[in-house]
């Protein structure tokens, strides 16, 4: 069965979906009119970061498809690893449809971990767009391993991963390695994934991952030169919440497949639950756009429809290139379940992660 989220892939199909949405919500949406207004899209990061680029890419299309074609501007509120700006948005933004928030995995992670400095409740926001992203884990070819099924051969060997920090997005590979049973030493303090790739190319790091576009431009040449071997991609989530292969890397197994190739059975257990929660928040639903708590349903609908139309816009499809990659953008009603998966965690899994970080990396979150 073709999931609703898959429908958004083809531009034509998405137009139909958008039209369906429009029919499903007659009347109220027409009352929403932003003409002559300015929409502020809050980004809790500084200029030039991934979320900033993502929002700047979407802004003109959002403006074109919102009723009344308002002016959409990006407002950067950086600091505190995105907690500051999101706290401020939660406390201050008015639910009038003129303030929109765009966050990232680094905003969801402290929320999921129960960081006491977080003053926002993700469940209160109204998601109107969810953008997934992906990444591929790779190792040096010199290990003599051709794919994940042979990973057992290096189970005893200590691998080195150049990490941005235990509670950064690099928590996802950390948990992936833990679930797989790999022996990995994490060296912290990298200032970006590019640093990690450089450490890998120097031979300082012996396992690494890159997000999709960086993998395609910078690691594929290494793979082609016979210097690196891809192990697995993180994959994407379909509408039923199942992990599927990453559309950018149809030939690379996703994490669950890799686990089965290595261990002969599908993964399970509390560590795996924790991995899934942070994988969803960090990759499968990395960047949500949200309206403040208490926004009127017709405004939420207007935004969902505008994003559905924006994603279906042939101009956006032609220009999306590196920014959105091959990923299906969750729009319309599809945003809700995906957003929910990405912003919730089983209490037991949360406690397990907190304990894991405390015992292995001395991270305390209180």
């Amino acid at each position: 069965m073709k999931s609703p989220m898959r429908l958004a892939r083809g531009a034509v199909a998405a137009v139909i979906a958008a039209a369906g949405l429009a029919l499903a919500t007659p009347g109220p949406a027409a009352a929403v009119d932003f003409s002559g207004k300015t929409v502020e899209w809050w980004i809790p990061f500084s200029e030039g970061g991934g979320s900033d680029v993502w929002a700047r890419f979407f802004a003109p299309y959002l403006a074109r498809h919102l009723p009344g074609q308002p002016n959409v501007i990006i407002r950067n509120v950086p600091g505190g690893g995105s907690i500051t700006g999101t706290n401020e948005f939660a406390a201050r933004a008015r639910p009038d449809g003129l303030s929109l928030l765009g966050t990232s995995g680094s905003t969801q992670f402290p929320y999921l971990l129960g960081d006491t400095r977080v003053r926002y409740e993700m469940a209160d926001f109204e998601p109107v767009l969810v953008s997934p992203t992906g990444g591929v884990v790779y190792i040096p070819a010199s290990f003599g391993i051709t794919d994940a099924s042979e990973l057992g051969q290096i189970a005893d060997r200590e691998l080195v991963y150049a990490s941005q920090g235990a509670t950064s997005l690099d928590l996802v590979p950390m948990l992936a390695f833990e679930v797989l049973g790999l022996n990995v030493r994490h060296v912290f303090g990298m200032t970006g994934r590019g640093d990690g790739r450089l450490a890998f190319e120097r031979g300082e790091a012996t396992i690494d991952y890159q997000t999709s576009s960086a993998y395609l431009t910078n690691v594929v040449p290494l793979v082609e030169a016979g210097d690196a071997v891809p192990l697995f991609s993180y994959g994407v989530l379909d509408a039923e919440g199942n992990v599927q292969r990453d559309p950018s890397f149809p030939d690379i197994p996703h994490f669950l497949e890799a686990y089965e190739m290595m261990h002969g059975e599908p993964p399970s257990g509390v560590a795996f639950d924790a991995y899934m929660a942070f994988f969803s928040a960090g990759f499968a639903a990395q960047k949500p756009a949200m309206l403040p708590r208490g926004t009127a349903p017709e405004i939420v609908e207007a935004y969902r429809q505008a994003f559905a139309e924006a994603v279906a816009d042939p101009a956006l499809q032609a220009a999306k290139g590196e920014v959105l990659g091959e990923y299906d953008q969750a729009v319309g009603e599809d945003t809700v379940p995906l957003y929910q998966v990405a912003t919730s965690i089983d209490p037991e899994a949360r406690e397990w992660v907190r304990g894991y970080l405390r015992d292995n990396h001395r991270v305390t979150l209180d």
Partner: protein
């Protein structure tokens, strides 16, 4: 193929459309460069919103066109006003500003511009060639090598310490301790953050630079009832002299350009210390050092050629690996991705044309920028002939506006005020501020790279060939610097040390005691952390504590012949007839920051302008209104171009729902 690509790219650059966008970048760079404190990050942020939807070569021309002009134009503030034009041009102040005071502003500026032009073109040439072959070089610099480069930077403290090496070490340790605020690189533990989100990422560099150099300088100039230029003529003559100076020191210019290109090319050191390394280098390698810090033109040429060459070098890792060497490069990368270019190996393969478009844009913008700066210089220099009481509020406006760029927070302004007072005291008691700044900038990198090097390769990293080479360079550099103490003495960064005849010894004793308290606090705050999180701050605190104790001893004993005894107020001050004394100056700043906390930045600024101009400058109402209006207009223009909400106050928060921008 390379030559073809090179000339094809030149053809692209010289089309009218491309050239138009290049000029847009150049003009933005010029304005941002002239305004003190604002640097590449602000310039790039201003341009980024326009990138979207532009074709690739035009967008690149616009973004790249800004960079070299900014590096040239930021010299104005450094030379003419003694305020860092951006965080890359701090070292230029040491000799450039004394030259301006002596009536040699024209000579200093033209030497700076020619050195910049040469450095910039050199950087572009390096980029052309090195982008093809730099991959192995960049890959050979791992964490261990970067740590050694950090040590190299720290070794410059030796020559920048002025009369007291102990004070240099203690000031550097103070900077390192301040740099340790925030998350520890190795463990992510928060240190000395007082539980606030604001300090989680550490103190922003822009604020430290402005607090150390701009805040004290404005206060100092306000003490005199005069203009900046002590002679009648604003610029003086010497345009040709400046060019001849650069020519006379052509080998120095070349050496420093090479240094800048290489340091720019190695990602991880960051752009904000290369000017100090260049300055340290020129001092070390000069025979006659008596004039450094008092207006030696070599002290202008060296940092200016280095910082301009750095831009071209810095693009090499940005394009080859997609790794930004600085904050402005990070935004440039975002711009590239928005126009559909992902940096990587393809930039020297199928996208070589794009790379060379960047090279040409860089070179052409360099030339245009230099010409524009020379044309504008006489007009801009008139600011030094205006009564300083009229200039000061504008300076305070620009530095406060620049200060809240990093996190757009009210706390940015509080930090500026607190560190500004520290800067005033450091200056008064002869603690070298360059040493403090170098320590601050290199704190995070030093700790991070040492930890990473140990994690990656253990203590054996000391045996790596490049590590040994850099180690030898450090020894050579320290030796060259140490020669100074026998001969002409090292640079006078903070007043000269004649035998102190101050009537009161207690102010310096109190300040040194305060410094000791900071180190004790650092120990107290970090001793409970995990080993990897505390080893660096504790080491820094112990070194600083030892140095500070050795400083306070002669001060306590009242040994006036000691090198450690110095109080800038001693020689105060026959010409101390200005409108605002130091205490009142700090009170003005505190009132301004307090008012912002109450009514927000915009209203507080208007009130500050009116009050300052009426009370201090004794302006007429007409003049007051015109100047205040100009200030308000400038702030609104910048803030709306950057889409930003200015720091808000308590009353504003209370009435938030009833207010409209810019009041809210």
């Amino acid at each position: 193929m390379v030559i073809d690509a090179l000339f094809e790219a030149l053809g692209n650059v010289l089309t009218l459309q491309h050239f138009t966008y290049l000029m847009v970048g150049v003009l933005v760079g010029l304005v941002v460069g002239i305004l003190p404190g604002l640097g590449g990050i602000v310039g790039m942020s201003l341009l980024l919103p326009f990138v979207y939807g532009m074709d690739a070569t035009s967008a690149l021309a616009m973004l790249i066109g800004m960079l070299p002009v900014l590096a040239i134009a930021d010299t104005f503030a450094s030379v003419l006003m003694g305020i860092p034009g951006s965080s890359a041009s701090q070292a230029t102040i040491l000799d450039g500003f004394p030259m301006a005071k002596k009536g040699q502003a024209a000579r200093a500026l033209s030497a700076a511009f020619t050195a910049s032009l040469f450095g910039g073109l050199f950087g572009a040439a390096v980029l052309t060639v090195c982008v093809l072959a730099a991959r192995p070089l960049i890959l050979s610099f791992g964490a261990a090598e970067l740590f050694m480069l950090t040590l190299f930077g720290l070794s410059m403290v030796g020559v920048l310490s002025g009369q007291s090496l102990l004070k240099g070490i203690a000031a550097c340790a103070l900077g390192l301790a301040l740099g340790a605020v925030g998350a520890a690189p190795a463990t992510g533990e928060y240190r000395m953050d007082f539980g606030t989100l604001y300090l989680m990422d550490g103190v922003p560099l822009v604020i430290v630079g402005l607090a150390l150099f701009a805040v004290p300088e404005i206060g100092d100039l306000l003490r005199k009832n005069s203009t900046i230029a002590e002679r009648k003529s604003s610029l003086g003559t010497g345009w040709l002299q400046g060019i001849r100076d650069t020519w006379a020191y052509r080998w120095l210019t070349l050496r420093c350009s090479g240094l800048g290109a290489i340091l720019g090319m190695i990602p991880g050191l960051g752009g904000s210390v290369v000017d100090w390394i260049a300055y340290g280098h020129v001092v070390q390698t000069s025979k006659d050092r008596s004039q450094f810090g008092k207006g030696d033109v070599r002290g202008v040429i060296a940092p200016e050629s280095t910082t301009s060459a750095k831009e071209g070098g810095g693009l090499v890792p940005t394009l080859l690996f997609g790794i930004p060497g600085s904050g402005s490069m990070a935004i440039f990368l975002a711009g590239m991705i928005l126009i559909g270019l992902q940096p990587g190996p393809a930039m020297v393969g199928q996208n070589l044309g794009v790379t060379y478009t960047i090279v040409w844009s860089l070179a052409i913008a360099n030339v245009i920028g230099t010409v524009l700066c020379i044309v504008l210089a006489p007009n801009i220099a008139r600011i030094t002939t205006i009564r300083y009481a009229l200039v000061a509020p504008f300076m305070i406006l620009v530095i406060s506006f620049a200060a809240f760029q990093p996190s757009r927070s009210y706390l940015d302004l509080v930090t500026l005020l607190v560190l500004g007072v520290v800067g005033i005291l450091l200056r008064r008691f002869g603690w070298p501020r360059p040493a403090f700044l170098i320590g601050f900038v290199l704190a995070t990198q030093g700790e991070r790279y040492l930890y990473q090097a140990l994690q990656f390769s253990g203590w054996s990293f000391f045996g790596r060939p490049i590590v040994i080479v850099i180690g030898l360079i450090i020894i050579l550099s320290v030796w060259l610097g140490a020669r100074a103490n026998k001969g002409g003495g090292s640079v006078q960064t903070e007043g000269s040390g004649a035998i102190s005849d101050s009537t009161h010894m207690w102010p310096q004793v109190a300040f040194t005691a305060g410094v000791i308290c900071v180190f004790v606090f650092t120990l107290y705050e970090t001793v409970g952390l995990s080993l990897l999180g505390k080893v660096f701050p504790i080491g820094v605190a112990l070194v600083g504590l030892l140095a500070a104790l050795l400083i306070i001893w002669p001060q306590w004993r009242g040994n006036r012949a000691s090198r450690e005894v110095f109080d800038g107020e001693d020689a105060r001050r026959i010409d101390d007839d200005g409108p605002v004394g130091p205490l009142f100056y700090v009170a003005w700043l505190a009132a301004f920051v307090g008012a912002i906390g109450l009514v927000g930045y915009f209203l507080a600024l208007v009130a500050f302008f009116v009050a300052f101009l009426r009370i201090v400058a004794k302006s007429s109402w007409g003049q007051t209104l015109v100047l205040t209006g100009a200030a308000a207009g400038l702030v609104l223009l910048l803030a709306s171009a950057l889409n930003m909400v200015m720091p808000s106050g308590l009353l504003q928060d209370h009435f938030h729902n009833y207010l409209i921008w810019p009041l809210r």
